[in-house]
Amino acid sequence: MHHMLHIKNGIVIDPKNGVKAEKMDIFVKDGKIVEEGEISKNEAKVIDASNKLVVAGGVDMHAHIAGSKINTGRTMRPEEMRVVRLIANKFRTAVGRVLLTSPAIGYEYAKMGYTSAFEAAQPPIGALHTHEELDSIPMVDKAALPVFGNWHFVLKYVAEKDMEKLKAFIAWAIERTKGFGVKVVNPGGVEAWMYGGNVSSLDDQVPGFNVTPREIITSLVKATEELQLNHSVHLHCNRLGVPGNYETTVESIKLVDGIKNDSRQVLHVTHVQFNAYAGDSWRTVASGAEAIAKTVNAMDNVTIDMGQPIFGHATAMTGDAPFQFTLHRLTGSRWSNKDSEIEGGAGIVPIAYLPKNPVHALQWAIGLELGLLTDSDKVVLTTDYPNGGPFTEYPYIMAMLMSKKMREGELERVSPFVQKASNLPAIDVEKSLEEVIHMTRSLPARVLGLPNKGHLGVGADADIAIYDLNPLEVDTSNDFEKIYKAFKTAVYTIKDGNILVKDGEMVDEYWGKTYWVDARGKADMEAIKDDLNEFFSKYYTVELQNYGVEERWLKKPERIVI
């Protein structure tokens, strides 16, 4: 292990710091990027990065990589687990086709040059399970977003319009779950599912509570902003997977019009592809991507991520339990459901995206439309792993965004339905390499509120990826195969200054940190004490004193106090 590195002669792209493909050296000491003068040249290990692209390690801000959902997926799908990636030797055995084991998740991210990954939906009462799995994922830094939008405490405080209690509850819940931010999944709709229903608009009444999805979203955004959490509300919109849902998405985005935050968005809308359908049935379905992209582009406080489907196998797993049942009815496939105390629910259903299936092809096109039509400073590249498919195909999406020629080739093998139902064939936009680097590094880091991630400025974490690609020479419009290949396996992946991957092969195993946010100092924690006692004695099946996760149970916790 070297505590000093000198990465020499690489071509650096570092969007956050305005570095556009410049030949420069990067210096690393004690896990951080430092000034040249900080290291002693004869002690530092030199990495020759001549003619290679040097960027910050990738940041996956939305994936389902740990906890009861993915683990039920694995249990349900032994056919997924039969793909052998690595035989046990120096490293653990790693298996999985799209659903991967925890070691495989860490290894695959590292091989691809990714160094941070966020679990996007942590069931609060299952938080300890999520953390156990995160602690079994090697190589990357990680964190988890607990789910709030159907939790009875939230519904009660929103109904009572009690912002102080709502803030205290969020701070309490994030601390108890050792979570990172506020995830909201189909607000109100999952509670309706407990009665066999769902919500169909932002103004439906949630059964049992005098609230609407609109009120839940706006209250949570307000509370999150008052608490000044690192990350904004992270919203999985209502009506996911329903033709015509793009209108609800646009409406949801506009809810935050006028709310300001100097350092980041105030609302992140996730895997938007699944919420970007026009039309009123699966027959008339069409892309609603353009309207959403326009709305996002016109606002300065909203970001989105793509949720790009990748043709092939996938497993749908979301906290949106009613949607998962609908999907099960649609496909006839296996279905797991998890109604969780008074906190919400989840579902898991296998799926495969087939290029010749008109709807699947349209979904694929919509994801790309969103990526192309939305400002590069507002759209993050994701597959909503494993809902849209594997994260290991991010390089495919990167290449597609940069090359119309590649898209034209791909359009030829998909259902012609795409030609009339989406705008993709007509889109000429080709993102630059810098933009795509931003969408996978500096942007997700900013969206999450992690100032030390996603860039190579002095003081940043020494999470670095080096790819076999010379940005000064590559023609991104035409060399898409080369681009894809280069981003698939890094020449070097460096995490906290440790070389984990060399020439696409893992050379070392490493355990990253788990970030969690402590906002208790920002709220009156006493305000919710009686409610906690009452709800736990009446509606929970565990004692309040035994609920939650203690920091000392985690492998490498990193507390962020705000």
Partner: protein, 421 residues
């Protein structure tokens, strides 16, 4: 100084977390007969032993490592009564020695896992059931004997959000004999042993409007009764089928549960229903979940090729032993000599056996290496999953001279790595 502390019970899958324990008198309050037995003083394995001779932990672990490394195919079995931290090390250990990992579910609720593979598991937590279920069906399950506080805390008389009174909930027991639970039920439906499958098929047909196809009697139950049950199910607001070993261990096994899951899928087109297994040991869920995230499968996992393969037909402990397909065994927190059919026990008597357990049991009598361990939930802490997958941290409330399972396995793993080098 006498001290009463909160404990999380490490006996059955209910994992009651409201126990009180007097650390001085070594006595519990609030827990059931099973829990009280757990939290009481019992005979312990006094010291590590090799071939009946007392040795140090180091010596016993060294011997155990030798046995595992020298075996062509060791079986590492048990795991349901220890914590996740130990289980994780056990999975890695099995991977390292190229053995077979199997856990107590394979003679308990594993057929339910096979059903999950076929159809999924539309379920809910015990809290969802307590708060919402107006109809609860115990199918081949007898919690009054196996999970004594389940009914009070979660299912039969538990009160919650929508169910404020026992009268608001209908409890139905389907079983082959009038169990203690049946006596508390509003309705008991006695079925012919081994006829769960066709009865469930008949219910599905009735619910989907094909009652005409169903004969006058199925599995000892009249068609009228089946129609009545189907109506009760359809008219429930939120129903729960909680199934037990009566379904998993009898004729049909996993196919019974698969059929029941299909019934639940169908019922969800009309109203809300969930289904869940009444898991036995306090952390049998963890014994499946941990290997699932580490290597992709819940049980019956063979590592002889250096990667995991799943096949209960070949790699479940009973099959492995019955076919003499292992040449050494590590048994942890379990007693297969008492709980396996004799044909399987026979092979355990013939191969080197390592045991890790707090208590002497029948497996101790055949073990070559015996390593006593601290009792999780009393002398050692760690994570356990309640039957519904809810994680709870079990506590260390008294000091002990014994090593925890986690410590023993950590050292054993180190030793194995040393020997393999």
């Amino acid at each position: 100084m006498a001290e009463t502390v909160n404990v999380v019970c490490t006996f059955c899958g209910s994992v009651c977390d409201d126990g009180q324990f007097d650390t001085e008198k070594f006595k519990s309050k609030k827990l059931c007969k099973l829990g009280s037995s757990k939290f009481s003083e019992k005979e312990r394995i006094k010291a590590p032993m090799v071939d009946g001779k007392e040795v140090s932990y180091e010596e016993a672990i060294e011997k155990a490592a030798e046995i595992l490394v020298n075996a062509k195919k060791p079986l590492l079995y048990g795991w349901a009564s220890t914590v996740n931290e130990a289980i994780r090390l056990g999975v890695i250990l099995t991977e390292k020695v190229g053995g077979v990992y199997d856990q107590c579910a394979s003679v308990c609720h594993a057929p339910g896992t096979l059903a999950v593979i076929e159809e999924g598991l539309p379920g809910g937590t015990l809290g969802a059931i307590k708060n919402r279920a107006d109809v609860v069906v115990f199918w081949g399950a007898n919690p009054m004997e196996a999970h004594p506080r389940h009914g009070m805390r979660y299912s039969i008389s538990a009160k919650g959000l929508l169910i404020k009174d026992r009268k608001q909930r209908k409890v139905i027991v389907v079983d082959v004999r009038p169990t203690k639970t049946a006596k508390l039920a509003d309705e008991f439906i006695q079925i012919k042993p081994g006829y769960d499958y066709p009865i469930i098929s008949a219910l599905r047909a009735i619910i989907s409007g094909n009652a005409d196809a169903v004969p006058d009697e199925v599995g000892g139950v009249s068609k009228e009764k089946l129609i009545e049950l189907a109506e009760t199910m359809k008219n429930a607001k939120y129903g729960a089928v909680l199934y037990g070993l009566g379904v998993t261990q009898s004729r049909g096994r996993d196919r019974n549960i698969e059929n029941a899951v299909k019934l639940i899928q169908l019922l969800n087109r009309h109203t809300r229903w969930v289904i869940w297994p009444m898991r036995g040991h306090y952390n049998v869920v963890g014994a499946g979940e941990v290997p699932a995230w580490e290597v992709g499968y819940q049980y019956a996992i063979d590592f002889s090729r250096g990667y995991p393969r799943f096949s209960p037909a070949e790699f479940s402990a009973v099959e492995v032993l019955k076919r003499r397909d292992c040449d050494a065994a590590l048994i942890i927190s379990s007693d297969p000599v008492a709980h396996f059919p004799r044909a399987a026990v026979k092979h355990l008597k013939e191969i080197p056996v390592i045991q890790i357990d707090p208590f002497p049991n029948m497996t101790t009598l055949v073990a070559n290496v015996v390593i006593p361990s601290a009792i999780a939930g009393i002398e050692a802490e760690g994570t356990a999953y309640r039957m519904d997958g809810i994680p709870l941290r079990v506590k260390k409330v008294v000091e002990s001279k014994y090593w925890s399972d986690e410590q023993i396995l950590e050292r054993l793993l180190e030793k194995v790595e040393e020997l393999k080098r």
